[in-house]
């Protein structure tokens, strides 16, 4: 093999510079995390092979001189032998190995949220104007007793017999999805922490430990215990408002994680409690959880360590038998179950798993909620739905299907500039999100993007209030699980049955 550098793969994008507009400020060279641009003496030269269309260069070009376009060079069209397959074959034949990708699957699968329509009031019941009437989104996550136990004071006033199990109070039914320090930058985590605090919601710091800078945000943080147990110690477990055991992730069910040693700098090494420069490997399973009874032990070990003051959440990926799995998790003592759907995001996953393993969150959620109700244990745990919640409409539909709250990961990164280029695993993120390169991280201002996250969630909350009002209810709990307010379009009988909704018109 003499021509090892030869590749069949053409650049996917072309970064075109209008030299008549360009003032040679070289800002593009500085901004591109991928090294696409260089200065060729009198003009900027682009190495198209390096461009991933992350959008940073043209966003920051002061003269609007850059356009990134899809490479118009055609691959012969073939509905069966799609470029996706052909390019992957070339890639793997050239370098061997597993194809790794970031973000959720880009492949076109049916998005059930887009096939559900909402109800509204007409005549027989009045809609409610959220600008004039109170509209409640407050949500509590945690175990609820199935019935209230009462005591009476000497005056005959009823009071609670037992204190309520610990709850996470959310002012609006959103949380920021777990994204670890390591997979994303500290500044990205800080932006979410600031927003979570201002919004009265919570963020989840993922499996990478809790950086000292985030400790003051403890009341708005869920700490995670994953199979690598990075940064886990007693104070860590007690530093957040809840603890989450991560079993799986929607983008890569059944797969562990691998943060390469070159990314383990001083700060990450300290936070994760691993030696400098060593690979951070999260095993595929928890090696102390080979079955449900082991999970129960870990749940209660954590409850013991936190004095039963923190709800324990268990995060699982939506897989085929999800309803029975979640039922088991609830019976094992989890207070919250976080279900991550097929299209959920990731910092890095083998494309074969990301694109082919798991089931959509809509179907998983519908089945889990129904199953827990059939078993009479729906009150025992709250459900968080995740896996590409792209809008407040998706959130409303998830809640109507039965979720207590939704988690947003990718959407939060999009706020910070992410263009969903899917190259998180390379560590070159030009937006300073999924990188640890200090010159890139520095450009992500936590306060600026914290405010934008605040804006987004506030806007989405207002939209949910509008929808609640149009449905004639003034509290989110009257929508939660109320599938009667959903109708399906373009769905088969089986799909409708799984979702537990009726077709539009019925």
């Amino acid at each position: 093999m003499t021509k090892s550098s030869f590749s069949n793969i053409q650049p996917e994008f072309l970064a075109l510079i209008d030299d008549t507009k360009c003032v040679r400020c070289k800002r593009c060279i500085q901004n591109c995390g991928w090294g696409t641009y260089s200065f060729g003496g009198d003009k900027i030269i682009a190495d198209h092979y390096k461009c991933v269309a992350c959008g940073r260069c043209y966003t920051y070009c002061p003269e609007d001189a850059i356009s990134v376009v899809k490479n118009p060079t055609v691959m012969r069209e073939n509905a069966n032998w799609h470029d996706y397959h052909i390019k992957n074959i070339w890639k793997q034949s050239e370098i061997s190995g597993i194809i790794i990708s970031g973000m959720g699957t880009p492949l076109k699968y049916k998005k059930y949220f887009d096939h559900m329509l909402l109800d509204a009031c007409q005549v027989t019941n009045p809609s409610i104007d959220p600008l004039r009437e109170p509209m409640e989104l407050r949500t509590f996550l945690g175990k609820k007793p199935s019935k209230l136990e009462l005591d009476f004071t000497e005056d005959g006033e009823p009071i609670l017999k037992n204190p309520m199990p610990p709850q996470i109070e959310l002012q609006t039914p959103f949380i920021f999805a777990p994204m670890s320090y390591g997979s994303i930058s500290l500044n990205a985590q800080k932006a979410m922490a600031l927003a979570a605090k201002a919004l009265g919601i919570v963020m989840n710091i993922g499996e990478g430990g809790l950086h000292d800078d985030l400790v003051p945000f403890g009341k708005h943080i869920i700490v995670q215990v994953a199979s690598g147990r990075f940064g886990v110690h007693r104070d860590y477990l007690n530093s957040g408002i809840a603890v989450e055991i991560k079993i799986g992730q929607g983008a890569k069910p059944g797969i562990g994680g691998h943060l390469p040693g070159e990314k383990i700098g001083m700060d990450i090494s300290r936070t994760r409690m691993i030696p400098l420069g060593t690979d951070a490997i999260s095993p595929a399973p928890h090696h102390d959880i080979y079955s449900i009874e082991d999970l129960r032990q870990l749940i209660f070990a954590i409850k013991e360590a936190t004095d039963y003051k923190k709800p324990v959440s268990v995060k699982v990926a939506a897989v085929h038998n999800i309803a029975a799995i979640v039922s088991g998790i609830v019976r094992a003592g989890a207070d919250i179950v976080y279900i991550d759907g097929f299209t959920g995001g990731t910092g890095a996953a083998p494309a074969i798993v990301r694109d082919n393993t798991g089931i959509p969150i809509e179907l998983a959620l519908a089945q889990v909620d129904e199953r827990l109700r059939q078993e009479g244990i729906r009150n025992e745990a709250s459900l968080i739905a995740a896996g590409s919640i792209r809008s407040s409409a998706d959130a409303v539909k998830a809640i109507a299907l039965g979720a207590d709250a939704v988690a947003i990961g990718t959407a939060a990164l999009v706020v910070m500039g992410c263009h969903v280029c899917g190259k998180c695993h390379t560590g070159n993120c030009s937006w300073g999100i999924t990188t640890q390169r200090s010159e890139l991280v520095r450009r992500l201002d936590p306060e600026v993007y914290g405010e934008r996250l605040y804006n987004l969630i506030t806007a989405w909350s207002h939209e949910i209030m509008e929808v609640l009002g149009s449905m004639g209810v003034n509290s989110i709990e009257s929508l939660r699980g109320s599938r009667e307010r959903l109708r399906g379009v373009e769905l088969t009988d089986s799909e409708l049955q799984v979702l537990g909704i009726k077709h539009a018109g019925l």
Binding site: T124, N125, K144, K147, L148, P158, M164, S482
Partner: protein, 381 residues
């Protein structure tokens, strides 16, 4: 066409309505004439597709027995249900419910009533040990959901429901309510929009001695229904009112909550109100919302629910349906319109409009009331 059950291809029945109630706290009985006049005045709040009455104290001679009122489509249905009843109940007496054939109610189902109690050696004892009340509830569910052409519309003790398709004043004449006496009456005039001619759909709805008349549409029906199903209630009728009846049964009878707390679940106070409460009360009310959020009745309603020791009238949490109350001596009157109250009692002591979500709770006097926080914020004339 005559129908007992909701076989229309709809998820649920929607209707607007008028309602009235009278209670005497000393349990002095009056006949049905007064309430008939009052509900007749609300004629335009219905459309002739449903009217009904609940009477408490109607069967003093059989006060210790469950009085089942059952409608049948045909003789076969009657035979099937009676087979079930004979197997499980000691039937003291059964007879057709007396009716007057009048021109305005031409078509009606077979109407029968049974005074009975569950047998102590009934078959289900082999696999569980339900109390009498629970067994009656289960029997009502079984008959209503599994027996074609049969529908139990009253199952309490010393009380009865009389309802059907027609304007309520005609239903009153049909059942000859002028001859029946009770210390508490509720009445309903129905305006359904999509289930014509459905006898089972008329109000009141009952379970044991709970009876509900209801004006409104529960916008949270979907989740209320699913919540109840978790507790094994079968919602065969697909109506809002059925949901309310079962929620009350769950909260008060099964979970042992006080009526005051139950009303604070149906029309839960807003968090902004809860935050202003004293700490123990705030904790209690927050817990109520956390535990019973799925039982919150959201959307417009005015309801009167009766039980053998009293009556509760209330509105939804932002008062989207009318409800007026008045008292005169030992009598309390409730109605959708003040004019109806004036029809029953031209010069009441006080008349007021209960605030949103604030229940009017009236208990009969022989009951030793535990923890009554009677809402006294009455706006007098």
């Amino acid at each position: 066409m005559l129908r007992l059950k909701n076989t229309f291809s709809i998820e649920r029945d929607i209707s607007g309505c008028g309602l009235c109630g009278i209670i005497n706290i000393k349990k002095v009985k009056i006949n049905g004439e007064n309430i008939k006049r009052a509900i007749a005045l609300e004629h335009d709040r219905g459309n002739g597709l449903g009217g009904g009455f609940a009477v408490y104290g109607a069967y003093p001679d059989y006060a210790s027995l469950y009085a089942f009122h059952i409608m049948y489509d045909d003789i076969a249905a009657k035979n099937n249900v009676e087979e079930y009843l004979k197997k499980n109940f000691v039937i003291e007496k059964n007879e057709p419910i007396p009716v007057l054939k009048i021109s305005k109610i031409l078509d009606h189902p077979i109407l029968y009533r049974y005074f009975m109690k569950p047998k102590s050696d009934r078959e289900d004892r082999l696999f569980h040990d339900l109390k009498d009340d629970d067994f009656v509830v289960r029997s009502v569910m079984v008959i209503n959901s599994q027996y074609d052409g049969a529908y139990v519309f009253s199952s309490g003790k010393n009380m009865g429901v009389f309802k059907g398709v027609g304007y309520p004043e005609d239903i009153a004449d049909f059942y000859m309510l002028d001859d029946i006496e009770g210390y508490m009456w509720t009445a309903h005039n129905r305006f359904p929009t999509n289930t014509p001619g459905w006898w089972g759909g008329a109000h009141p709805f009952t379970l044991l001695d709970w009876s509900i008349v209801h004006n409104g549409e529960i916008s949270s029906y979907g989740i209320n229904k699913r919540y109840l199903e978790m507790f094994k209630y079968s919602l065969s009728l697909k109506t809002d009112t059925e949901v309310i009846t079962y929620i009350l049964d769950l909260l008060i009878r099964k979970h042992g909550l006080t009526i005051e707390l139950a009303t604070n679940i149906l029309a839960a106070p807003f968090y902004q109100t809860i935050e202003k409460m004293d700490p123990p009360k705030r904790e209690l009310f927050t817990a109520l919302r956390q535990i019973y959020g799925s039982a919150l009745l959201n959307g417009p309603f005015a309801i009167i629910f009766g039980f053998s020791d009293g009556m509760v009238a209330m509105n939804d949490r932002i008062k989207l349906r009318p409800l007026v109350a008045a008292t005169k001596g030992d009598f309390t009157y409730i109605a959708s319109e003040e004019a109806s109250i004036m029809e029953m009692c031209p010069s009441p002591d006080i008349v007021w409009s209960p605030k949103a979500g604030e229940p009017v709770i009236v208990r009969t006097e022989n009951v030793k009331a535990k923890n009554i926080v009677q809402k006294e914020e009455m706006v007098s004339l």
